[in-house]
């Protein structure tokens, strides 16, 4: 089990109903974590449409998770 600090941007924030949350998860990688969250929050965007960053660095989806990681999910936005 790892405890993570999550941050959502744009429509992910809107769909989650919060900008940030702390979760404890059994997910082993970022990809697994996103699948879990997508189900819980009914996220409409697939992972391959997003960028993910861990501790302020962009990351691959297969990266393993560590206790205390700050994970940020970023969709592209187009408003102007």
């Amino acid at each position: 089990m790892t405890t993570l600090h999550l941050q959502y941007y744009a429509q992910l924030r809107e769909q989650a109903g919060v900008g940030a949350e702390r979760v404890t998860t059994e997910a082993a990688s970022l990809g697994e974590l996103y699948r879990e969250l997508a189900q819980r929050h009914a996220f409409s965007l697939p992972a391959d449409a997003l960028k993910v960053a861990v501790n302020a660095q962009f990351s691959d989806w297969d990266r393993p998770l560590e206790d205390g990681d700050t994970v940020v999910f970023i969709p592209p936005v187009a408003g102007g």
Partner: protein, 507 residues
Amino acid sequence: MKRFAIAADVIDTDALRAELQDGGNGGFCVFEGWVRNRNEGRAVDGLEYEAYAELAQSEGERILAEAGALHGVDDLCCVHRTGHLKVGELAVWIGAASAHRDEAFRACRYVIDALKHRLPVWKKEHYLEGDTAWVACHHAHGEHSRTFAPDYTRQTRLREVGTEGQARLAAARVLVLGAGGLGSPALTYLAGAGVGTLGIVDGDRLEASNLHRQTLYDARDVGLPKATLAARRLAALNPSVTLRTWTEPLHAGNAADVFADFDLVLECTDDMRNRYLSNDAAVVAGIPLILASVYQYEGQLQVVEAGGTPCLRCLWPREPAADAIGSCAANGVLGPTPGVLGAMQAMEALKILLDLPRPREPALLLVDLLQHDLRRLPIDPATGCAEHGGCAAVARKALAEAQRIGDVDRRFTRLDEAAAAGYRLVDVRDAEEIATHPADCATLHIPAAQIAERAAALGEDRCLLFCATGRRSRDAAERLRRQGRGETYSLLGGLAALDTERARTHS
């Protein structure tokens, strides 16, 4: 009665005079403006006036209404010429008739003064690439620009700027795509700073729903083309700036060529397709690009350097589907959000042009205005496009693909006009949208998500797909073309554009 007109032919003054004759009028005052044999100190044998007709018409009517209300004059006529005029020819005629002479004199004087400062009558220069440069003639802002000396001392006082920096700005050419929520502050600051040439690209007309965030515009301008309105406003702000306008969006066939005429490009549109097009064109042309976009209360900013790496596609390789990413119209936005991000784009532009200190490692900047959270995420240039042949190769391929599919957008002012032109109309909106906002024309209905499977229902007909904004229909039309279907088009701007057009012509 009040009547304003732009005329391409000789003005019939007798007819105008007759129109103003009324038993209640005891005074009639006329002003005639003639072409002189000298212009700006040089001998001339004639002049050519061009007006932006729609804009000139609305501005002229407004001036007559103001003169009438201000001086209590009901009978006013004004005609302004366009085209080639010889020395001595009548360029403008103003007649004011009233019960008493004083009001007639005053109203007449008001109209000619206001026309000289406000009527968008310009000397127009055409360029081969299809854009238009509006060079203010003496009737519009020229008179003002001769007497107005810009004062940049508040910025030249900065040690990093100085007179040398100001000269750099004067020599700089910056292209701004999108004169909306981001473009308004970006253009305003760049014009104010004295950037020598500003290009403005915007295919939209002003809508009332733009005004909460698009600070370049006035309520009275709803329905008029934004690129032209923006140019007029910026010419008034700083007459020393040269303005070039495009009232149609760029496309894969011309974007890189247009970019090559500029030193720097700002991507300020609200359109994901356009962001990818700008990215690819800037990478291919080797021009730095400053991308920004917003969502509700937050924004993203990315500077793509002249070398092109890393670029937008390094982060998000493919353009997401039009209905997946949201928009200001669908999700809402608070006005200052694009205001902040657009101002940041202007700041980045000035930093690049003036070579001010700035972080050199590439990054995506995330701005959360609710939580005061500003986050820089460094982008590793070795990931992304680097794994697919590099940004330049990826961008060239994407532009070539877009050109192969071709431009699917078609502009119409009414749906029945498209039907009469032989297009089969296909509504690709969802059932609920159609129920709340039905199209006023017989159409086939296939939701965008199902277009590929149900393409057979379209037969061999030439089709015009439409949705609320023109984005889903464009996606769907391109999907069909990629499948090999020809003669498939999308209504540019969607039903929203038709509504704007209707509001304009009926107002």
